[in-house]
């Protein structure tokens, strides 16, 4: 991972910075230049909530090279409160604890390093909200 490519995404990956279309209300994550729903270019910055639920998940047994030490790990599509969706790992739990609609919360975690000499890459992962 090259540093400019990494640095550009920090606001989204560390702080969940997103947008809301001022015309139609659609939420965009990551931010973009034009609303895909109504073509408005007036988009306001918002921060996504960290609470959401699992829509679907998988357990990756055959990982990409830079995740070789992590497998098996869980990947889910998470829908956050307010409707924004993202794909991320679910950690600190057993796959048996997961279910569709399981409540989760996003936390700040280390994602990977492509090689020992490379940038350590961070971002969001989901954990179960146990209550």
């Amino acid at each position: 991972m090259k540093s400019p490519q990494y640095t550009r995404e920090i606001p989204q990956r560390y702080r969940l910075e997103a947008q809301k279309c001022t015309r139609c209300g659609k939420i965009h994550f990551p931010p973009r230049l034009i609303c895909s729903a109504c073509h408005s270019r007036e988009l306001e910055a918002i921060t996504l909530p960290r609470q959401g639920k699992v829509l679907t998940w998988t357990v990756i047994h055959v990982p990409p090279a830079n995740f070789s030490l992590e497998a098996p790990y869980i990947i889910a599509i998470v829908e956050l409160e307010g409707g924004a969706r993202l794909t991320c790992q679910v950690v600190d739990c057993d796959p048996d604890e997961l279910a569709v609609d399981a409540p989760v919360e996003l936390v700040f975690r280390r994602i990977k390093e492509d090689s020992p000499a490379d940038i350590i890459q961070y971002g969001y992962k989901a954990v179960l909200r146990r209550g």
Binding site: E9, P30, S36, L55, T56, W57, T58, V59, I60, H61, V62, P63, P64, A65, F67, E70, Y73, I75, A76, I77, V78, R85, L86, T87, C88, Q89, P95, V100, I111, K112, Q121, G123, K125
Partner: protein
């Protein structure tokens, strides 16, 4: 717009072809298509290829392949829409003939995946690098997300997914060009190693070298065809959807497939039940079910039952993937869309041998890239 005919088709054997180079794969398929059309004329060519840069370290392949096919100075362009690259190349070639710009255009695809590149990483470039791949998701992982959602929503079973692979291998066993020309059982699928839960190794299409090509021509040229009855292209459509799977309104609904199919049926003036033989993009078993539903062959959640009842076998009511599909025939990603139309053309000519669907008059080929963010649909009709 003028009518466009397929007057020649050709493909290499699909498989791990260590001894054949990237360029020779394509030239072999292109020469086979020219021989099949019994013509030496080519006005232009379009080549589908997803990732020659990553797989073999070569870009600028339009000119490269035109050179090695001995066709300089004709215009030659590489087309990329991930695994739908060949479908998109065919659509551009179709438009060039339909517009009257050219009389005879070659459209094909090629991928050389076994030269040692990191295939998982190369294929992952068809997904959203920053917001999907960054987090460790793989292509089988993305389709597994679809599979679990489909199982949860509609009650689709693990065994039903396996039946898709079993059916495609049953067809592939009859195809001498297939990478895996043998049958498998449901038990073997369920016992194969886990790749991305719930998808196992035998749910996944393989890593493949191969190329396929078609010769598209105007009515005037097609009228002079000697070797085979020409086949008419009655629809060529393409659509897109969100690059990230998580942004689709319904995770299991391939909306680009649905949109391309609707446009294609309208162009062709037919309904889905008039199609006699179909090739779909079964990169994973779940994909075949979701595509059937998006094409309107089954209502959402009802495709698996049709597979289970044998309706999609050769001899069934709606034969799908008579070639063996991506699963058994192999999936050289940039070539698959062209290989589908090779099969459909042979079916409509009545030249599919042991795989022949009796009385096939209308055939449909559906090719897609990524998790369905790109999709092409072509419909062909026998004219004899």
């Amino acid at each position: 717009m003028r009518d466009v005919y397929v007057i020649g088709v050709g493909m290499t054997r699909f498989g791990e072809l260590w001894e054949v180079s990237f360029k020779d794969l394509f030239v072999e398929a292109a020469l086979a298509a020219l021989d099949d059309a019994a013509t030496d004329r080519l006005d232009a060519m379009y080549v589908g290829c997803m990732s020659s840069g990553l797989f073999v370290g070569q870009e600028h392949i339009g000119a490269l392949l035109a050179d090695y096919l001995g066709r300089n100075p004709i215009p030659a362009t590489r087309v990329e829409t991930a695994c739908a690259s060949a479908g998109a190349a065919i659509r551009l070639a179709y438009m060039e003939v339909a517009a009257g710009t050219s009389e005879v255009v070659l459209a094909g695809g090629v991928e050389k995946m076994t030269d040692g590149a990191d295939v998982t990483a190369a294929l992952a470039t068809a997904a959203d690098q920053e917001y999907e791949v960054y987090h460790g998701v793989t292509f089988p992982g993305l389709y597994a997300l679809m599979a679990r959602a489909h199982m949860h929503r509609y009650g689709t079973t693990r065994e039903q997914l396996a039946q898709v692979a079993v059916k495609n291998h049953r067809h592939g066993a009859l195809n001498p060009k297939a990478q895996f020309p043998f049958e498998i059982t449901v038990e073997q699928v369920l016992a194969s190693s886990m790749v991305a839960d719930p998808l196992r190794l035998l749910d996944c299409s393989p890593v493949t070298d191969g190329a396929a090509a078609l010769i598209l021509a105007s009515a005037e040229v097609a009228g002079q065809a000697q070797n085979h009855p020409p086949v008419l292209v009655i629809a060529s459509a393409q659509a897109t959807s969100t690059i990230a799977l998580h942004n689709r309104p319904v995770i299991t609904r391939l909306d680009a497939v649905q949109r391309a199919a609707e446009a294609a049926y309208k162009q062709a003036g037919i309904t889905p039940d008039e199609v006699d033989v179909t090739e779909v993009h079964d990169c994973f078993t779940i994909a075949e079910l979701c595509v059937m539903e998006a094409l309107g062959y089954a209502r959402p959640g009802e495709a698996a039952a049709l597979v289970e009842a044998g309706e999609t076998r050769i001899g069934g009511r709606m034969p799908i993937n008579t070639s063996g599909g991506l699963k058994a025939k192999g999936h050289p990603v940039g070539a698959s869309g062209a290989a589908q139309i090779v099969e459909i053309t042979q079916q409509l000519r009545g030249e599919a041998g042991d795989r022949q669907v009796e009385g096939a008059r209308i055939g449909l080929a559906q090719n897609m890239g990524g998790t369905g963010a790109s999709c092409t649909v072509h419909i062909l009709r026998a004219v004899s």
